[in-house]
Symmetry: C2
Subunit: 361 residues, 2 copies
């Protein structure tokens, strides 16, 4: 059972609390800022790449490595110094980013030499747990399942806005990927268009389904399971693996074995197994060098454009910044300028390293 309570912060931002019991909150709904949010991001068209760029110039002033005594994602204990979260019996919290790159409040796009439009959309922060020292890997399986239900709930809520076309939950973890707050949290971006990467993915998935009659990633996962050289976790309903086509040395993908278009469509048994796949993968990452393993984790879903998406296959892709325990993989000339990734390591070798890490759920 998923309980949810929707609240509004003094500055107008929304706060939604989730838990396994009916939500009870003590005290007023807090916010570090009380001035009304005046978000007005805009988009400009990049004519040579054929894609939109978001501009939100207030973002330079966003919270950056606060001193340890102030954590905006912790539960408020001193009403004189409110954080983003109230006291209460909830387990996961979601609120509007104070400095969004995309916002439903966007209303104005200054004219320019290229096409512009208001940066409509939404940027949400998802606080994974109340404990500032927790990490996804250490959370109980039921908590991870709850989080997946929350991602599904957010997808459903955001999809109700007809202006939203794509919902991407992700987590940036570690100073190596620029994380400014260490309290376990992720983000959700809701876009007014299907962004370039999911768009290419959807194109590939659609044309494969049309030609072959089966979802593309489902076919690839069946091949990974048959090859069994890169599989990290193999459950009844879910799998994680270093894909044969990994762009990052420690890249891992995590998915239901059978295609499910998005978090809303997950059944409880598949979600439970996906949580096991997630926890196993994260524990192996942390176990590899016996230290917290930084990564970008992105969850790709089908577009939320009101159409059915039998071609889409919900999955996570992990992009870790390390290529070995003491060397970062920098994205440089060929990756950023040409778009061709050069991987120093064979996926088979990196999978072997991760497979060798013993973990206990």
């Amino acid at each position: 059972m998923l309980y949810r309570q929707e609240l509004t912060k003094p500055d107008g931002r929304s706060l939604t609390l989730y838990g396994r019991r009916p939500i009870e909150v003590a005290g007023p709904v807090p916010s570090p800022n009380r001035e009304p949010l005046e978000a007005n991001p805009h988009l400009r068209w990049h004519p040579l790449r054929g894609e939109w760029i978001a501009y939100a110039s207030y973002r330079q002033g966003r919270t950056f490595m606060p001193p340890p005594e102030y954590n905006p994602l912790a539960v408020t204990t001193d009403p004189e110094n409110p954080t983003e979260l109230p006291q209460g019996n909830y387990e996961v919290a979601v609120f509007d980013n104070r400095f969004p790159s995309l916002s439903p409040l966007a209303h104005d796009a200054p004219k320019n030499i290229v096409e512009t439009m208001p940066g409509l959309g939404k940027c949400e922060v998802v606080v994974f747990a109340k404990d500032p020292a927790a990490s996804l890997a250490g959370l109980p399986l039921d908590h991870l399942e709850l989080l997946m239900e929350v991602w599904g709930s957010r997808t459903a809520v955001l999809a109700q806005d007809p202006r939203i076309k794509y919902v991407l939950p992700f987590e940036n973890k570690g100073v190596e990927v620029g994380v400014t707050l260490h309290h376990p949290h992720g983000q959700i971006y809701a876009y007014p268009f299907i962004p370039p990467v999911p768009k290419r993915m959807n194109h590939q998935e659609k044309s494969h389904l049309e030609k072959k009659g089966k979802p593309l990633l489902e076919t690839l996962i069946a091949a990974e399971l048959a090859a069994d050289t890169r599989v990290i976790y193999r459950g009844e309903h879910a799998v994680s693996f270093v894909p044969a086509w990994a762009r990052y040395p420690y890249e891992v993908w995590l998915a239901p074995i059978k295609a499910v278009p998005d978090f809303r469509a997950l059944t409880p048994p598949v979600r439970a197994d996906l949580a096991r796949a997630l926890k196993t993968t994260l524990l192996k990452y942390d176990g590899l060098w016996q230290r917290p393993f930084p990564y970008l984790m992105a969850w790709y879903q089908g577009p939320v454009d009101g159409q059915p998406h039998p071609e889409s296959h919900l999955h996570a892709e992990f992009f870790p910044p390390y290529r070995s325990s003491d060397r970062l993989k920098y994205l440089a000339g060929t990756e950023l300028a040409a778009g061709m990734f050069a991987n120093d390591a064979l996926p088979e070798q990196k999978a072997e390293e991760l497979r060798a890490v013993a973990v206990t759920l």
Copy 2:
């Protein structure tokens, strides 16, 4: 006048020396390694992105931050400790990367669950100058012109191989972008296909030329010059500017005002002005915070597929990693996973900062 001498290293790699006078070399052609090069990179198809990934597993062992007493890009002084370069009166040197992601020697692509093929192509290192402490910004204008002639020569040489479809000269500069050798140098990647970013660019350029009868970037540059709010350098034939569609806060583009498809097609007056645009831009970057400014600089050219490319417009794009003097712009969730860039700064503001930096050529 551009003089060129082609040599072969003891390990089979090619070395080409360039200068304004007939090249004279003293001593044998050196190489830090003498074992024959055994490069055999391969490509795998990424089915969900629809792009090739290059695998070259020996690259983990490549030279990394050598001690100051050994610089493989310096001229050899001690024959017992050969570097990559001989003594001689050349000014710029180009040699095959010892650890290439793409190589003409590629001969074998192990079968996998996705399509594979040999990683044919070429990765060259371009030593910009002999002085290990030099930087592009500090080189005389004539030397920058020479370098552009070298890029043109390399493009012509590489284009002769019918397997090569795209040539990308670039420079990664600064520890912030992962540079392992500080001697001023760049690289050239020659691809057996048009890589994803130039491919999208070429598609946009082609469809604009068909529809409007004028090259896309030429039209945009005319609009930038007319707006005159983001222009950094304005010469008779060349321009540099923070584009209205900048993805990075300090992104700068540099181009001939009129479309020229590639370095081979540059006329001397345009090349000379492009060198002034380059030096001006680099001096402004270094002057901004009074310290060397890191960046990725990529030079986009038309494809070298044997077709004319009237739609293509040679230009450089600079992607600097800083968003302010003390903060890096990390590519995270929305940039890497979704492909939508979120820029904290308006191009107009960043252009103003760069325009305010006074420089003397």
